[in-house]
Symmetry: C2
Subunit: 252 residues, 2 copies
């Protein structure tokens, strides 16, 4: 399984994803689920993925390959460069549409073969970022290629094993939460998931983006030995224990 | 859906269940999922249910009907009184076996008809309590009629929508947690579930049992207007907010 969470806040974006994939419980591996397209000063688009790894990898390849150079010439030849990728889409809404079209193309190509093996076509995506003078936006794209956009009322989306880490977000995450606080929040939300579900695993990938900056703020891989994440885990556990112990005794 | 949780602790038992049932999202109703068999000084057995309401109601009826009077005469006639119920089983392990046999009987009777309507045969149970001089025990009985028992290493079981409320239990619930602290814990766990999932709803049923007492400690229905539950919800939200705000800022 997977756990990805993205917050689209007034100040910017905070994204966090685990890296565990599992073919079954006895076959786990580490794959990044957070992919970043950055051309400083021009665009930052982050793509997070959940679902069948063969499908999501194929999607990421199509969405990011053929990187045009600064003169617009395609990295894989001009033929390739004429196809739209996340490096060339003119806006975030076009980025979401492109992800949707790509997953529909993959469905047309693969779904019938997967079904012959009783494998569901399952791939969902979070697409977040900002292109040029356009708006900072966050979209969730479904396996069917349709998509929804976050709003100030609901400033976060999750993929995969979302339930363990949702209560803290439901209670605390608001549109005006600062990037710094949101980093704490996604780490707490991830930690709750890691502790309760083996199919979500370290290391985790974290990314922050400040609205209007058009360059990645922080991008960090966090493993077992990350001192700050360890502090968050210990202090948060302590805060929960203290919090519940300090509740008054039932008056019944 | 449903959320039920039961802790089997050194001091005793703490059980909590919501009361929402839903045929679909636009058809919800309130049904108790916590059923108590109590003969003070002789037995306390609590039965919690999740799954298809028609199946769980049929099971509860079979498991609890035909209450023999103090002379052993059946409430519904002597024919009925000869059939074992939770009022007559000699031990908790026999209680778990009886629940298992009952759900298997119901499967034999109903499953093929349900399948004709694409309805899964789905019913799971928590059975907790103490009979006479026997041990206090907690079992989870599956739709297939097989069962598992809690242990000091894993002193709690959950039914239904268990994920939202699991992180706090995973972190804090231990075999030596006191009944009073466990009451706070299950209310916090339930609150997290209520906030994040509409298919779990108030009021909730709470029951405590002190090991060896052979009578129910506390049995209480808790609604929106319960002052203590309101205090727990508010103070816990406050503790979470304070806890995450007091985390140090990232050092990166």
């Amino acid at each position: 399984m997977t756990y990805c969470v993205a917050l689209n806040l007034e100040e910017g974006l905070v994204l966090c994803a685990d890296t565990r994939t599992n073919a079954s419980l006895d076959n786990i591996a580490t794959f990044s689920k957070l992919h970043v397209i950055e051309r400083p000063g021009e665009r930052v688009i982050a793509l997070m993925t959940a679902g069948n790894l063969a499908i999501t990898q194929a999607a990421v390849t199509r969405l990011t390959e053929s990187i045009p150079d600064i003169n617009g010439n395609g990295g894989n030849g001009d033929m390739e460069a004429t196809r739209a990728t996340l490096w060339t889409v003119p806006s975030m809404i076009e980025a979401a549409r492109l992800v949707g079209r790509t997953v529909r193309d993959l469905f047309d190509e693969d779904a019938s073969n997967l079904m012959r093996h009783q494998v569901l076509f399952d791939a969902t995506f979070l697409v977040a970022g900002q292109v040029g003078a356009g708006k900072q936006r966050l979209f969730m794209v479904y396996s069917a290629g349709n998509y929804v956009e976050s709003s100030p009322d609901t400033p976060f989306f999750q993929l995969g094993e979302h339930k363990y880490g949702k209560p803290i977000l439901d209670r605390v995450a608001k549109y005006d939460t600062s990037i710094e606080d949101a980093v704490k929040l996604v780490l707490i939300s991830m930690d709750s998931t890691l502790r309760s579900n083996l199919t979500v695993g370290l290391p985790i990938d974290l990314l922050t983006y400040r609205r209007g900056s058009l360059h990645v703020g922080l991008q960090r891989r966090i493993g077992e030995d990350d001192a700050y994440f360890r502090t968050v885990r210990e202090r948060w556990s302590e805060a929960l224990r203290t919090g519940y112990r300090s509740l008054p005794a039932p008056q019944w």
